[in-house]
Amino acid sequence: MSEPVYEIVSPVGATPAVTSAVARSTRAIAPAPPLADLNGKRIGFIWTNFRNGDILLAAFAELLAKRFEGMTFVNLPSGKTLNWGTYPDKSLGEVVRDYKIDGLIAAPGC
């Protein structure tokens, strides 16, 4: 006796419709143009609250300040105090603009 044969549908989630607000936020993001150099630039730091990420960022600040003229550094808030663009709270993109950040370095720690 032959085994039964089943025809199945996919369990995978659906792509968002292009017209939805979420889909607009997940459209292709063009990588940002590079900085010409780092002299006088304001760099934002994101640390995701795991060990040694903060130390790494502080070390970068020290080294960059020695190598380039007039750099400034801003520690941006991390975690749920900041959303990543689709949540009702202020988005990271808005914060980056508010702080007039020219470039960002993110370090997690682990």
Partner: protein, 468 residues
């Protein structure tokens, strides 16, 4: 981090991520799901940054500096992709809901699921059109309705794919209202579904209240946390399949758990044996509402005993709470979001002893807040493990903890293990005649508690009457 990079690049600011070796692929995949076509990454070779000394971290920074500068000052290799012109041209990886994607025997179906990483490694019930339609018979909602978007893959959870995953998990059709409420809960930003793939590898715990418990045959009694009852197990398994198939969690790609946990059976409350109002009323619902609550449970304690009169029971419970939640999990209380929701599950016997002695749940919470404490040095030690030099005084100064945590410099002063008494979530469940209890530790903004009322379809009255 991937999202931080994506949203920064989105406003025209170059962003570079420093990534421990082994995580680059994950960062790229999650960033791609956010729409970023190329990611500026500098990889830190082993050993993991967490095990390096401060001096070694400084050396690593010097080693990586040129790479970081290059990433910020160099165009990425990939040219920007154009946005898709219309939804009518979906990617080849996605199908219309009712498309047949595979045909085969039960064994072949399961091989297909395993090959595509559509499951949890266990055999599935083949999601055929007729079985999915049976599930849809227990909702009045349109199959196309979008319940939410689940990160990290940013895919839509729809009524349809909830039904499909429910079938695959082995759920009965009448579980469908519970399944929908679960997905509504995890789609809430507060829950933080995007954190499930983190190093901690935490697993959500589902709690259930209301008449639906008995209507659907959930167990809330002896052995409630054992894999035995169809309802408790398959509903929880359904959530795991959703996390794999809709949220898009894959081990080593978007899921970087160090160890992880198996999914827990649904914890249904023994409402008829509890001396107190249902735990869902603590979340703002009315007694008698059908409510599902989802939250992280990174630790499940030993089922500890408590003895004696009410006060002795409370002392025993407070000791176990301080032991269980005052260990490694403690730093989440300070580090991750300012709110935790540990579950204190008491057996009906123990809850009854406390209630007859005049203790309400609020009384129990206040007692635990006052007595489930740890010495400050223990908390300081745990904070320092997460962030070098961090201690309670610095956390209070930074505004992340209240002043009660730093009233003196005495390292042996006793400090609370939650922010406020209301954070203890008391649930009555388990073997009704045993003096055993357990604790489930929740880890702050990673899986913060979300509750949703379960909406019942019209057909429910015919099947189960008006209750619920």
């Amino acid at each position: 981090m991937s999202r931080a990079i994506s949203w920064t690049e989105n406003v025209g600011v170059p962003a570079v991520g420093i990534v421990c070796q082994g995580f680059s692929n994950t960062v790229r995949m999650v960033a791609r799901a956010e729409g970023l076509s190329d990611t500026r990454i500098v990889e830190l070779p082993q050993p993991n940054i967490a095990v390096r000394s401060t001096e070694e971290v400084h050396v690593a920074a010097a080693d990586l500096l040129d790479g970081v500068i290059a990433k910020l000052t160099t165009a990425t290799a990939v040219t920007p992709q154009r946005a898709p012109a219309a939804a009518s041209r979906p990617s080849a990886a996605f199908h219309a809901p009712r498309d047949i994607v595979f045909k085969g025997t039960l064994r072949e179906i399961n091989e297909h699921f395993i090959k595509n990483v559509w499951c949890d490694g266990l055999p599935v019930v083949p999601p055929t059109l007729d079985l999915v339609d049976e599930m849809l018979g227990y909702t009045d909602r349109s199959p196309d309705e979008v319940i939410g978007v689940l990160k990290p893959k940013n895919l839509n959870a729809t009524v349809w794919n909830v039904a499909v995953n429910g079938v695959a998990a082995g759920c009965r059709p009448e579980y469908m209202p519970v399944l929908l409420a679960i997905v509504e809960a995890i789609a809430e930003p507060r829950f933080g579904v995007e954190h499930i793939g983190s190093t901690a590898g935490w697993t959500p715990l589902i709690l259930l209240n209301g008449p639906i418990i008995k209507q659907l045959g959930f167990t809330s009694g002896q052995g409630v946390m054992l894999p035995q009852t169809q309802a408790n197990m398959t509903v929880s398994r359904f959530l795991r399949l959703c996390l794999v198939n809709i949220a898009g969690y894959r081990l080593g790609e978007t899921d970087m758990a160090s160890y992880g946990r198996n999914y827990y059976p649904v914890l249904a409350e023994a409402e008829d044996l509890s001396p107190w109002p249902p735990s869902s009323t603590d979340r703002g619902f009315a007694a008698g509402d059908n409510v599902v609550t989802v939250q992280s449970a990174d630790v499940i304690s030993h089922s500890f005993l408590s003895i004696g009169d009410a006060e002795q029971h409370l002392r025993n419970i407070a000791y176990e709470v301080s032991r269980e939640l005052g260990g490694s999990i403690l730093y989440h209380m300070e580090h991750f979001g300012g709110e935790v929701a540990p579950i204190i599950c008491l057996s009906p016997l123990v809850a009854g002893i406390l209630a007859r002695a005049g203790y309400s749940k609020d009384d129990v919470r206040r007692y635990l807040f006052e007595h489930a404490r740890v010495p400050a040095w223990q908390f300081d030690d745990r904070l320092n493990r997460s962030q070098s030099g961090l201690n309670l005084h610095r956390a209070v100064a930074a505004g992340r903890l209240a002043g009660i945590f730093a009233v003196s410099d005495d390292p042996n002063r006793l400090v609370p293990i939650v922010h406020r008494p209301e954070e203890f979530f008391i649930v009555v469940s388990g073997s009704p005649d045993r003096n055993r209890n357990f604790i489930a530790g929740q880890i702050g903004e990673q899986g913060l508690t979300v509750s949703r009322k379960i909406t019942l379809p019209e057909v429910w009255k015919n099947r189960f009457g008006n209750a619920g």
